[in-house]
């Protein structure tokens, strides 16, 4: 387009003066046409993969340049964005938030702007669960998702049919690795295995019952991990022979020859996901809608599954992922975490959980 214009201009320009004048006129709309978007994502391997595979494809498809912004994580980024919004200038137009952080942002108010879904028709392919609407409209569209799965050491034990088997001390005494954080979704597993799932989180008694059931597994836990790398080392070293860990990393470890096997028991595994959210003071609503549209495209979802190891937010049938590729990043059934309860009863669940861990 640009070259065409300039060539036409050169032909028509009668004099040097005319050329200068005309090029300055034509130059202005050219700069304005250069569209861009600042997108935040968790730093490290994840952000690099997005830059390399997804943003570049997006720029090639739409001509919109992407400036990648590093987020430390979801919740700390929310603090940054809250302060930046107050100051009137934000570091990113689109940010990546986990669902609980997104709900937090929605509750704080004035931080997020609804996305224009009419300009993003491909979001219709997503499961409606992944398009989060509050009173102002659709403020978050799913970007990608990830599972934390049951894992075992296949050299030591066979795949359990249910999470309940992990409570069997005959087999698993001092041998499991489970996450230490109260909201790392182990309680959701307990709820799905022994109770009524998310509904059990609604009352304090329900939460206490969940934590008491979790307490019964304590003799079988050798490691309550807080950092991902702790569990990775424990699995590799044989310090634990089972537990709860990220599905994609487990598969990567298995592919590297370590004795690790992710399992989908009958209750399933917890599925978490990240959402693209538009800052309330961003002026790039149109570009953001185009990006969200691009990211929701089954082809992009498949691209992310292959290159980053995230689970697609569309059914496998809509993508060209093979069964093996799909099993590497996803599975069924999926346990949906009780996000609202984790926020509404934050202090209570955290303290009850930690009391259980501490035996206090």
């Amino acid at each position: 387009m640009t070259r065409m214009n300039r060539r036409a201009l050169l032909k028509s320009a009668g004099s040097v003066a005319g050329l200068t004048a005309a090029s300055s006129v034509i130059g202005t709309p050219l700069i304005a046409k250069e569209r861009s978007l600042k997108i935040g994502a968790y730093g490290g391997y994840f952000e690099n993969s997005l830059k390399e595979h997804v943003y570049s494809a997006f720029t090639a498809a739409t001509g919109i340049n992407v400036e990648s912004v590093t987020q430390p994580n979801s919740t700390d980024w929310l603090v940054t964005m809250t302060q930046a919004t107050k100051a009137g200038s934000v570091p990113a137009d689109l940010s990546l938030y986990a669902r609980d952080t997104m709900i937090k942002a929605s509750r704080i108010g004035g931080l997020l702007s609804p996305l224009d879904l009419k300009a993003a028709p491909k979001t219709g392919d997503l499961d409606p669960y992944f398009v989060f609407e509050d009173t102002t409209g659709p403020i978050g569209v799913g970007a990608m998702s990830w599972f934390t799965a049951m894992v075992i050491n296949p050299e030591e034990v066979g795949p359990p049919a249910s999470w309940a088997e992990f409570w069997d001390s005959e087999k698993y005494e001092a041998s499991l690795g489970l996450p230490k954080n109260f909201n790392a979704q182990f309680l959701d597993i307990v709820a799905a295995t022994f109770f009524e799932g998310e509904a059990t989180f609604k009352t304090k008694d329900g939460i206490v019952a969940l934590v008491e059931k979790a307490a019964e597994i304590k003799p079988n836990v050798a490691l309550w991990w807080s950092a991902e790398s702790q569990m990775e080392q424990a699995l590799k070293n044989g310090d634990v022979i089972g537990g709860q860990y990220y599905l994609d990393v487990s598969n990567l470890m298995a592919a590297d020859g370590f004795p690790v096997q992710p399992v989908f028991p009958k209750e399933g595994n917890p599925q978490d996901y990240g959402s693209w959210c538009l800052s309330s003071i961003s002026e790039k609503g149109a570009e953001a809608a185009e990006f969200v549209n691009f990211s929701s495209d089954p082809a992009t979802q498949a691209l992310m599954s292959r290159k980053i190891g995230t689970a697609p937010l569309v059914p496998q049938s809509k993508t060209d992922l093979t069964d093996d590729e799909f099993a590497f990043v996803s599975g069924a059934p999926s346990i949906k975490p009780a996000y609202e309860a984790y926020l509404d009863s934050e202090t209570f669940i955290k303290e009850t959980w930690e009391k259980m861990l501490a035996g206090a």
Binding site: N73, S74, T75, D76, L78, V79, T82, I103, K104, R107, I108, E156, E173, A174, S175, K180, N181, N183, A222, L223, W224, S226, A227, Q230, Q233, K236, N237, G238, D239, L343, D344, S345, E346, T347, F348, K350, E351, E354, K355, L357, A358, G359, A360
Partner: protein, 325 residues
Amino acid sequence: MSVISDLDAVAQPPNTTRSEARKWANPQVLIWAVVLFLCLTPFILIFAVSFGHKVEGAGWVWGFSFANYQRVFVGAEWPDQVTWLYLQRLYYSLYYAVIAAVLAVVTAFPFTYLMTGLSRRAQSAWLVFLLSSLSLSEVFIVMGWDVLLSNRSGLPMVFKETGLTDWLKAVGWFDVLREWGLANPRNVKFKTSVLATVLTMSYLVWPYAVILLYPPLSRLDRSMVEAAHTMGAGPWTVMRTVVLPAMRLPLVGTILLLFVFLLGVYVAVTVFAEPAKQTMSVSVYGAVRGNTLNAPFGAAQAIVLLVTAAIFLVLGQWMNRRTAS
């Protein structure tokens, strides 16, 4: 800085403003002001935050309530329920710090004593080696110990390969180890355990212990030791009646310093201690970090930890002075 200038203004009559101005130019006053500012500002900030208020499901806001301090002592559900959860963590902070500090000093003392008897050359070689080991960060040291104690690559592997595990099983001691949490049905395990935590923590501060004990020990008058020997005292009697009394002050001082240093250890505790035996510094981080965004509660715990450390230091000094007099 403002505190100092206010104090100066109050202390000095108005007609000395010129000398006051000259005093401000004095670099020493300036340095003091900067140091005080740098020390006090973070502390005052944390103190102020500790009275803030947590908004459930969101962040926190400034406020003035003692609820966070109350929670440290009796828990969030008080008066319906009482929990000693956070006091238990405080207890473990002190527990590990005391044991690890004493262990480090008890082992570093004979080492340093023997080292000061070596030639100058050997002494400086040891000191350089120990000083360079200080460049290893806590994370690095914990990683090393983690590998040392791991099932496939460390001590448990040695137990298994040498047949020690089978022998323990045969004589029945293995079940005792299982009861102590030092074994799973397959092999011995040293993570997570108090043993691993304390060992790593004393390893962490061991070079400091040597470096702190080195100057007083090298100044120790060896002729006193020799005199005691010639008068017929055995090595233990010499140690007990000559060396230790002369070294009492530096020994207590070193233990106190290492103790305060160890109160803040984070990585070793998260990796080697089970959640039931984790410390207040881990709990502080758990409250402040993104997970719940409860900086006020983290700050309140930090203040309680700080006050406890101060009490221990004062007590230590007081006991030291009392036994000295």
